[in-house]
Point group: C2
Chain length 399, copies 2
């Protein structure tokens, strides 16, 4: 545990409040993977999607950290969530202020130790960060797909990632993902049991709840009702449905935080004023935060991708697809680590426990941890000290 | 308890699922208040709003059920929530399919027994159901107020209700309200302590949480971002911001239900189909429900009212306004009944307990019940059998 304490350093002790400052640490510090380029793999074949369509050609955006060993058996695939991308660790340039989304967990000596592992991260199918998605050019028309993009599933995302692993010549590896990344980790383990040594599922579920579908549906409606959405054709006019996407993101942000963390962060504190001013401007800090989150998201995300990705989440239902969770995991060869957070109400612990119970019933090796944290669903990105200890301990047995 | 069981009848046993059928019961049955007219009181004076503005003239829409006795001491004021109106019980016409919003609790032999009490219900200031609000005509311009309507507070709503009670010649009465109606009940008790005999606060709070403000803010943004909102000027063009209001209502509905009741009602059941159809139409029943709730709301509610009323909820903060809850209730003369629901995550039990603890510390007479129900915040409208027993028992001592 000494090692972990040394790595986490005092700057981490104060938690979420100083997250912004921490992120401005230098890219060349000893526990950073440093400067990383995003790479692109073009795949000329088509892949058969779950809806029966043969779809391609395709591009995959990915990054790697650490070195692949000669026997090619030290790979670890990390899988991102709804708004993530291939850039999981390090910096894409010395000017970049903020490192990759899981930089706290990926690097020399960190949970996913790049001294030991060759860590791979790829943007998923349907996204807007380099891998083929609705904003990509359809080679048949020379125009962006828009809503002519096929409806895809989590299994389809994994099928495309398989092409990347094949290209890299990796036959056996570890998968790890949080939230929707955990859904992909589950599909990997079920669909390619021979390839997966260990499966790490964090703050995830084997199927989205009715409440989860409901929040996604409201977000999609906000986009679709925005006149600028224009049936998904907004790329040429450069007038995307920013209002709708911003509303969708604001809804998302409420669900990512726990009531406790929202209270801690904002309470009922007023924004830059002492008294209520009786108008419809921002009055409370929480309003300012949400408006900022909504607005900054539209600069970096595509509204059509939001529609397709949330639909893939809604469709994800392992027990329904395989008859039961036990049947689904029957052929799995990996050992499992499942982590949930007690304040996560979007992907509550009860859903992780369902997975754990099913795995135990069919005698799979499974470790389960429910972490005590106020950070809600976002904890999979924030609560890295506790996660680091657990993941390191779980991976220690890996040779 | 015999009486209650007889009233509730077998049709109630199956709960929420048959609510729609129950509501189609005949208006002339023995426990209905029958046909009721909404009445209107015009007030020529101005009232001084909390923001310092003198505002008027004003109209109040209200209904009454039962008879006011000669000594005028059997009055009971019920206070409605965000989307409610003066029509709390009975039917406005023989053709009306659905009775008033609290018909399950108001009527002969019911919790608010109209054989005993003269029950009053009035639409609050800022609404769109007959009492002056943003869609009312400003007599100075001959046009609807729109956003020239002043920002109002819960205290302002109560100040206007006071005019109605004065007009009716009632000096002492009982107040009862759920959700935002509970906020009004609290303000009544604090502002007019000599007038209130008993205070019934259901599924409410002394201040909205950061999460509550956040949900309201997203709903308001959905309206304001809708191009049809047009800075609140949409009455003349008859093109209201229906999309934005519909999104706001969908968000609201998610927060009114518990995860459990959503799961019970919808689970992951598909809507009118056996398999996923890989498109963006409605796939799941929960999506269909939310779209219906959103669309039906826009036919009966004004978007500007939604902005003003949610702002009044956000501004409501009794501990901040009076220094503490104990200071706030110091001069109260009433006895209290506080009811919360264990699955209500919008106005959680912890917030009711804060009120109860403060009242106990200053030696007020208070009864508190946390009811076990799956219905979430909506339980104040649905869980009437349990509420009836508690309210009847609480009111029994009233002479």
């Amino acid at each position: 545990m000494q090692e972990i304490n040394a790595i986490s350093s005092d700057s981490h002790l104060s938690g979420i409040r100083f997250k912004m400052d921490i992120k401005q640490e230098n890219y060349n510090q000893s526990n950073s993977v440093g400067i990383v380029d995003t790479q692109y793999l073009n795949i000329e074949d088509k892949i058969k999607l779950e809806n029966g369509i043969d779809f391609g050609p395709l591009t995959i955006a990915y990054e790697t950290y650490g070195e692949l060993n000669k026997t090619k058996d030290n790979a670890l695939l990390v899988l991102h969530a709804l708004s993530g991308d291939a850039h999981a660790a390090g910096y894409n340039s010395p000017e970049e202020k903020k490192p990759g989304w899981w930089d706290d967990l990926i690097g020399p000596g960190k949970a996913f130790d790049t001294n030991k592992y060759f860590v791979i991260s790829s943007n998923f199918l349907g996204g807007c960060k380099g891998t083929t998605g609705p904003s990509s050019i359809n080679p048949e028309t020379g125009k962006p797909y828009g809503t002519s993009f096929p409806v895809i599933t989590i299994e389809d995302m994994v099928k495309l990632q398989k092409k990347l692993l094949d290209f890299l010549g990796i036959e056996k590896f570890i998968v790890a993902g949080g939230s929707m990344g955990g859904m992909q980790a589950i599909e990997w383990t079920i669909n390619y049991p021979e390839m997966i040594k260990s499966t790490i599922i964090i703050a995830s579920t084997s199927r989205l709840s009715a409440q989860g579908i409901a929040f996604n549906e409201v977000g999609r409606n906000a986009i679709i009702y925005d006149p600028n959405w224009n049936n998904g054709n907004y790329y040429e006019t450069q007038t995307p449905p920013s209002s709708g996407l911003s509303i969708a993101r604001m809804i998302g942000h409420i669900t990512y935080l726990s009531e406790e963390s929202m209270h801690e962060k904002f309470g009922r504190r007023l924004q830059d004023k002492k008294d209520l001013d009786f108008n419809f401007d921002v009055n409370f800090q929480v309003e300012s935060y949400l408006r900022y989150q909504g607005k900054s998201f539209v600069d970096r995300f595509d509204a059509n991708s939001y529609l397709y990705i949330t639909k893939a989440m809604d469709y994800f239902d392992i027990p329904q697809k395989y008859g039961s969770l036990m049947k689904a995991f029957k052929n799995a060869k990996s050992k499992f680590l499942v982590i949930s957070f007690n304040s996560d109400w979007l992907f509550p612990s009860s859903q992780s426990k369902e997975i754990v119970k099913a795995l135990m019933k069919i005698d799979k090796e499974v470790t389960y941890c429910e972490l005590d944290t106020p950070y809600g669903h976002d904890a999979f990105l924030l609560e890295y000290e506790q996660q680091t200890k657990i993941i390191k301990s779980f991976l220690k047995e890996d040779k």
